[in-house]
Structure formats: C-alpha cells, structure tokens
C-alpha cells in the first residue's frame, strides 16, 4: 500500500502540491485525473523520489520512502514515462532489458535478451523490433517498448505517466487494454496519471481528482459518474463552465 499524507511541494512561488492525502491499496489500480499543470506528474515523481516533497510523508507498506535501501525500493517499481523516455543510444531490447543487464538484477546477456523479446511479444511487438533503435519506431511502438521496459523485471508497482498522450484513439485503446491486462495478470499495484477519460474508464479501480494541489475527490471508478462533486463533473464531461477556471 502506498500512502501519501500532507504532501506539499512548491517550485519558487508556485505551490504545486498543497497537502495531498491519498491511499493506493495494494493490488489496486489508482488513476489520478486533473487538468494540465495541476501537479499530477510532480505527485507521481514525489513517490519515486525524483522530486523531494517540502512537507509531508510518503510510505510504502508503512515504511517512509526516503528511508532504507534506495535500490531495493526502486527495484519494486516499473514506470512508463509520458514520452517513453527510451535511451536513444541503445537498441530496443537493451532498453527493455536495461535493469536485467546491470545492478542487483543482472542476468546473462542471452537470458536478458530472451526476457526482453518475450516482454516485447507481450506488448504486441515482433522479435524483429528488438534490434532496432528507438528513433526507428513510431510513437505507439515507443510507448509499447516503454511498457515492456516497465514490466521487464516484473515489478510489484507500476506507474504510468500519461500513457496515451500523443496517440490516436485506436492506439490509445490498445495501450489502455494492454495496461489493464498486464496489471491484472501481474497482480501489480498501479498508479496512472492522465486526463484522458477513456484511459480512466479502461484502467481504473479507483479514481482521485487532483485540483489546486489537493485531492478534490476520490472513490471507486464505478461511482465517478454519479458523484455530485462539481469539479469531477466538470472535468469528466469536459465543460468550460464550472468551478474549474478554463483559463489557468
């Protein structure tokens, strides 16, 4: 279980997070929604330690994430970045097997490659893709490779940062389905941040809405449409009128 309590983060005068309280139960898929620039990525990066909160605590299974062995902590996570964040200088299979080629989880090269090819197959990519460089792939293929890399070491927790941004609706649907299948199949805890409502409905067990630096609403996805919360209603229906200012 991941628990955030009173998390604050400011960049200069810009107070992005203003006391976030959120619980992500083990084995559940939590989707955090919210407008652009509301701090969703900062929230996710705070959990991973890529951004250091100014105040508040974040715990994983009751242990403060800033304490203890950092490598062991990160080994429990996989992450799909918004733009894929694939390493340009490495071949696709080396990207996927990156964690398996070095560090504590190091395997022989042939074994790491076999695992990479298997993970690529799992996300619908052919073995021939393994020897290409990221620049030779389309945006959708890069996202799939990023997904394969996120699951390569079979992590307990997977984070997805805007997984469908920049993809056409069909490819978005494919990625959403893949994420749902993989999360269920692996029994992983997942945290996704998005403003794509089709992703929310496809991926989420629970939804949390981040607005003005706090969690405005949280609940099961099945209750999202019925909630009377005006912020959630405005956001999920994409209305210009409502409590959320359209010009921010």
């Amino acid at each position: 279980m991941i628990e955030l309590s009173g998390v604050h983060k400011a960049f200069g005068d810009n107070r992005v997070l203003r006391g976030v309280d959120l619980v992500i139960p083990k084995g559940q898929s939590m989707v955090v929604i919210g407008g652009s620039g509301t701090g969703k990525s900062v929230l996710l990066k705070s959990v991973l330690g890529l951004v250091r909160p100014d105040l508040g605590t974040i715990t994983l299974d009751g242990v403060d994430v800033t304490k203890g062995d950092r490598d062991a902590f990160l080994a429990r996570f996989g992450m799909l970045f918004q733009g894929g964040a694939l390493f340009d200088s490495l071949r696709v299979w080396e990207n996927v097997a990156f964690r398996l080629l070095r560090g504590h989880q190091k395997r022989p090269k042939t074994e790491a490659r076999a695992i990479a090819v298997e993970k690529l197959r799992r996300v619908g990519l052919k073995p021939e893709v393994a020897d290409l460089y990221p620049a030779e792939l389309s945006g959708g293929m890069q996202k799939r490779v990023g997904l394969a890399r996120a699951i390569a070491a079979e992590p307990e927790i997977i984070f997805f940062d805007e997984p469908t941004t920049g993809l056409d609706p069909i490819m978005s649907g494919v990625i959403n389905e893949l994420i749902r299948e993989i999360v269920v199949e692996m029994g992983a805890t997942a945290m996704t941040i998005t403003h794509d409502m089709s992703s929310v409905r496809a991926i989420a067990d629970r939804v949390a809405m981040l607005h003005q630096g706090v969690i405005q609403w949280t609940g099961p996805v099945s209750e999202m449409d019925a909630t009377p919360d005006p912020y959630v209603q405005q956001f999920i229906h994409g209305r210009a009128d409502g409590p959320i200012e359209s010009v921010r």
Binding site: K45, L48, G49, L50, D71, L74, A75, F77, G78, M79, F81, Q82, G83, A85, L86, F87, D88, S89, F98, R99, R102, G103, H104, Q105, R149
Partner: protein
C-alpha cells in the same frame, strides 16, 4: 531609493555567481567520489573514450599542424629583428609543448566535446531519460557523468601529446620548405633543447583541461532547462565555461609549474 539598493543590485549577481561555483564544486566532488566506488560502467567508458579521444584526433591534429607552421613563420620573422632566426626549432618546440599544444587542443576539445556532452545529456534530461535511469536503479552521475569525465581526463593528455608532435612537425615542414632550414639540424636542435618537464607539464595541463571540459559538459547538460531553448543555452554555457576555465587554469598551472 535607499542607499542599500545599489549595493543589493551589485550583491545579487555576486551571490548568484558564488552559488553557481558552489554547485559546480559539489557536482565535481560527487563525480570524483564516484570514480572510486562501484558499480563501474566499462562499456560507457570505452564509448566515451572513442567519442572524446579518437574522434577528436582530426580536429586537434589540424589545429596543431597549422599552429606549428604559423609559429615557425612568426618566430623566424620576429627573430630576424635581432638576428635570432636560428631559434625557430627551440621556440616552436617549447611553445607547442608547454602552451599551444595543451591550450589550443583543450579549446578545440571544449568546442567539440563539451557542446556534444551538454547537448546529449540536456536532451536526455528534457525527454526524462535521466529520470528513467533513476527509476531503473541506475545512478545518472555514475552512468552518464563519471565515464565521460574519466575518459576526457585520460584522453586529452594523449591528444595533447599527438598535437605536440604534429605541431612540431608543422613547424619543421615550414622551416625546411620555406625558411631554408636543414631538416636533420632542425630535428636535432628540437630534441636537444626539449626537457622532460616541457612535455610533462603540457600533459598535466591536458588532463586538467579534459577534466574541466567533461565536467562542464556534464554539469550543464544534467542541469539543463526545459525544451530546445534550455538545451541550447546549456550547450552554449558548457562551451563558454569550459573555454574560460581552460584559459584561467592554464595561467594558474603555468604559475605553479614555471614561476621563478
């Protein structure tokens, strides 16, 4: 306007500059501390060695040969004013090994390597590749900066040695073809005159310049601002900072090595 306002206006940039120096020093300290702690990334080191050392050979060689040739012409013309044309071999040799070889070689490497490192790492930062490294349990300082800094520190002295040789050869070529020097005599004078420390001091300077070039490339790249503009600014800052540091440290090292 209070009397403190001009002082504050003066103090702010000074404080900012001092803070920047402090950040670079901390970055350098962290990089050096990682040199001695595993894991070591041999493949990244070898790749950096090829990129920084081997691929810089043409530009350093061309710079050296033209510099050596021009130096021979200048010394001959200048020496003629007091009948000292014969010192061309000695002055070309000492000039190349002590000063021009390391400084011009360092500046050419700064232009070629600091810019390339800053642009590469800056792009990696803005495309979240550096964050991705961290989430994959890999320390970006260890994986990206340390191999490049180590490779540059080792490769630039070798480039300086090659540049010294080519520069002296450039001087020799001009001297025998344009200034009527005897080939064997020119080479004998050069070899008889040069001392070990003339060459050694240049190689030490090369190591320091290599360290500074890669350090500034890595620092500016890994702290790059957002977007194409941020990467562009980081690249420019890396080349400017590396060049100024090379010239400043060259003066300090010369003071240390040769002041009476």
């Amino acid at each position: 306007m209070s009397i403190a306002s001009p002082l504050a206006a003066l103090g702010r940039p000074v404080l900012r500059a001092l803070a920047a120096v402090g950040r670079v020093a901390l970055f350098a300290g962290e990089a050096v501390s990682h040199l001695f702690r595993p894991p070591f990334y041999g493949r990244e080191f070898l790749t950096a060695l090829i990129q920084i050392g081997w691929l810089s050979l043409p530009v350093v060689g061309l710079t050296a040969i033209f510099t050596g040739g021009a130096l021979a012409l200048q010394i001959y013309a200048g020496g003629a004013r007091f009948n000292a044309e014969a010192v061309v071999p000695q002055i070309v040799a000492i000039g190349m090994t002590r000063e021009l070889g390391p400084v011009l070689g360092g500046l050419m490497v700064a232009a070629r390597v600091a810019s390339s490192i800053a642009a590469e790492l800056g792009t990696m930062k803005v495309t979240e590749q550096i964050d991705a490294l961290t989430t994959l349990s890999t320390n970006p300082m260890k994986y990206l900066a340390v191999p490049r800094i180590l490779a540059a520190t080792l490769a630039v002295p070798v480039l300086v040695a090659v540049g010294d040789s080519i520069g002296i050869a450039g001087g020799w070529l001009v001297a025998i073809s344009r200034l009527d020097f005897n080939s064997a005599g020119y080479l004998k004078n050069t070899l008889d005159f040069l001392q070990f420390w003339d060459i050694g001091s240049g190689l030490v300077k090369g190591a320091v310049f290599g360290f500074l070039v890669a350090l500034m490339g890595c620092y500016m790249g890994m702290t790059s601002g957002r977007g194409a503009q941020g990467v562009g600014a980081a690249t420019k800052a890396a080349v400017v900072a590396a060049s100024v540091l090379i010239l400043a440290s060259n003066y300090l090292l010369t003071e240390v090595f040769f002041s009476a």
